[in-house]
Amino acid sequence: MGSEITYAIAAGVLGGGVYALMAAGLTLVFGVLDIINVAQGILVVLGAYLSYVLYRHLHINLFVGLLITVPAMFGIGVVIYWLFIRPLRGSERTSMTLLACFAVALIIEGVLYREFGSNYVSINAPVTSASVHVLGIYLPDIYLYGFGLAVLTIVALYLMLYRTGFGRSVRATMQNQTAARLIGIDVTRVSALTFGIGTGVTAIGGMVYGSISGGFTPNSGYDLISRLLAIVILAGLGSIGGALAAAVFMTTAEALVDIWQPTWAVAVFYLAMIIILAVRPSGLFGRRAVRAQ
């Protein structure tokens, strides 16, 4: 039993890194733009398809391919914001953006169905089956890379937000859009770039997701979005670093319950989430100030 717990904790922590990577863009976009991007699941899948095409058809290394997919997804994010989010204004904006994001999800899903069909595709790169032996257990390479990328991504987002002029503009926009406009910040530009960055980061999550899953279809985003939203809510809406902690909590709790009864794993996580939110409604790392606007 002892080593089963060790395996479960290792699997949970590493799996948490992958989920944090997928959720980072979601929490950034919510924190800055007040948008619950329900298209995040399909954006992860889109990132997975882009990596699939580059790896399986163009034979470009998965990690090198990120140099293409991240900018591409950044561009897609900016276009999505410009076409679907920017025109929405007024008191109903938040609920309307929810519908707009859902429409975006359906459009992307439709395009993927048209291009790739409904059959599962799989990246199946050598890195997906390799592992290293550490302290008596095998740790899968792809999860280690995923965890490392999650930490790097979160650190990069943190540095961008707190160590750059653009970051100051983003934080000002996050706290009060009207005041930000008054001091000369181009809120629309900042918002578009932030949405683009959030989507670009999702390309990394998509690559890792595509690599760890045995196969995916345009429909796979639906299995992801509820978990990603749960992570962001548990972390505290808008808390990028908290997403990693919440994701690790979720996957470790599930992995531990898996030892006892796998069918209860997901339920136990959601139960724990409800209890935590009852005690701390702003989430594990949420700050009221973030939601002040």
Partner: protein
């Protein structure tokens, strides 16, 4: 997760296309006005969603059958016209679709959907309106547990799919049998019953169970489950899977843990041809086993003609035709024989005829229904990947079987 999913599926329905498929045209020999009206046959299929690959294969099977029938004069001198609605793999939507097909589209007959999960609720709808419900993918016990008189499954009952595998284990000398086995199962009415039955029959053979758990079907990765199975280090793994990704995830997990079982058999996944080998690699497929009742090389003239027609219409090769196509085609064949046998589309007459003990023919072989609507003539086979080829290995004495590869080779990486 389920509530979120249900909400998204419900919203997604607004964008789902209801697809009407017009069967190929041919000449009709009947000149009366009423007989010129086509026979409307309704079906709900999972053209999107979790079962979309199977649902689309089913659509092709139904279309192929309709094309064949129409090119041979139709049924009772009337052409057939399929009305296929997309259920997005949702048990709720499938209920709505069959209700609409019967009450709005006024179809003459209905064909079953894909998967036991969707067959169970849709059979009740058909029963409510007195329709015979011939289907090919609802072989799980939950479909028959309601004892509906209108359900007729032309395929192999799910629970018995692993029988040849267990029989083979029994035939081995005790010293050659696996000593331990693991039974990870997806929470699905197709996957769980057959693995649980196999487990109950393997334990008395002295094969100790070291892992037996049911896991949620729709989790994005199976690392913890695969790790726990690998940690238990069983000689045999009997995986209750429903699709390629589940099997591929376990294979990748086992590779990562450097765990090589002597036997690895999965309820579904390895039967998906190129989709499977693409996901795991041809070398890793070696030795993987899967139960099924049909394969493209199935030695029957009807089956070979269907495979030829499939390749001619949809392209590819014979190995691209999976068992879903044959199951769907068989649904059409059995229904056609029942209609021609009764000269009627009336549900009660068709149900009585299908229950009469008559033996029907199909591309999957003979079909005869017991009182529950299970096909008692269906024969289970076990297939295995050997050197990049998908071959029949069990029953060992069956025509077409080759020697089983045991123990399974180690993973290629």
């Amino acid at each position: 997760m389920a509530s979120h999913r249900a909400r998204f599926l419900a919203l997604g329905m607004t964008a789902v296309l209801a697809t009407g498929v017009l069967a190929a045209c041919g000449s009709s020999g009947n000149s009366s006005a009423s007989s010129k009206k086509p026979i409307l046959i309704g079906a709900s299929l999972s053209l999107t969603g979790d079962f979309s690959a199977d649902g689309q294969a089913y659509q092709r099977g139904y279309e192929l059958w309709a094309s064949y029938v129409n090119s041979h004069g139709g049924i009772l001198g009337r052409k057939v016209k399929l009305i296929i609605k997309n259920d997005n793999s949702s048990p709720t939507q499938v209920d709505t679709n069959y209700t609409d097909l019967i009450t709005v589209d006024h179809v003459n007959l209905v064909f079953g959907p894909f998967s036991s999960l969707l067959t169970a609720p849709s059979a009740e709808v058909a029963h409510r309106y007195g329709f015979a419900f011939v289907e090919g993918a609802g072989g799980a016990p939950i479909v028959f547990s309601e004892k509906l008189p209108n359900v007729f499954d032309v395929s192999l009952p799910v629970a018995n799919e692993l029988d040849p595998f267990v029989d083979w284990l029994k035939s081995l000398p005790a010293s050659q049998r696996p000593k331990t086995a693991a039974y990870p199962m997806a929470n699905d009415p197709f996957a769980t019953p057959q693995v649980q039955l196999a487990q109950s029959e393997m334990q008395p053979l002295g094969i100790k169970t070291v892992y037996s758990k049911i896991f949620p079907e729709e989790v994005p990765d199976y690392l913890p489950n695969a790790d726990l199975v690998a940690h238990a280090n069983p000689d045999a793994v009997v995986l209750g899977s429903t699709d390629v990704p589940t099997v591929a995830s376990f294979i990748h997990g086992f590779e990562q843990q450097h765990f090589n079982p002597k036997i690895f058999i999965a309820a579904a996944g390895p039967d998906q041809g190129a989709a499977f080998t693409s996901a795991v690699g041809v070398a890793n497929a070696d030795g993987m086993m899967v139960p099924d009742a049909w394969y493209p090389g199935y030695p029957s003239a009807q089956s070979q003609a269907m495979v030829k027609a499939y390749v001619a219409k949809y392209g590819g090769t014979a190995s691209d035709v999976n068992a879903d196509v044959a199951e769907a085609y068989s649904v059409g064949q059995v229904t056609e024989q029942a209609v021609e046998g009764t000269h009627s589309f009336e549900g009660s007459k068709l149900i009585a005829y299908l229950h009469s003990g008559k033996i029907f023919t199909s591309v999957q072989g003979p079909v005869q229904f017991n009182h529950l609507g299970e096909n008692v003539k269906a024969i289970a086979f076990i297939f295995q990947w050997q050197d990049g080829k998908f071959v029949q290995v069990l029953p060992a004495n069956a025509k077409g079987s080759v020697k089983i590869l045991y123990p399974k080779p180690h993973w290629a990486s």
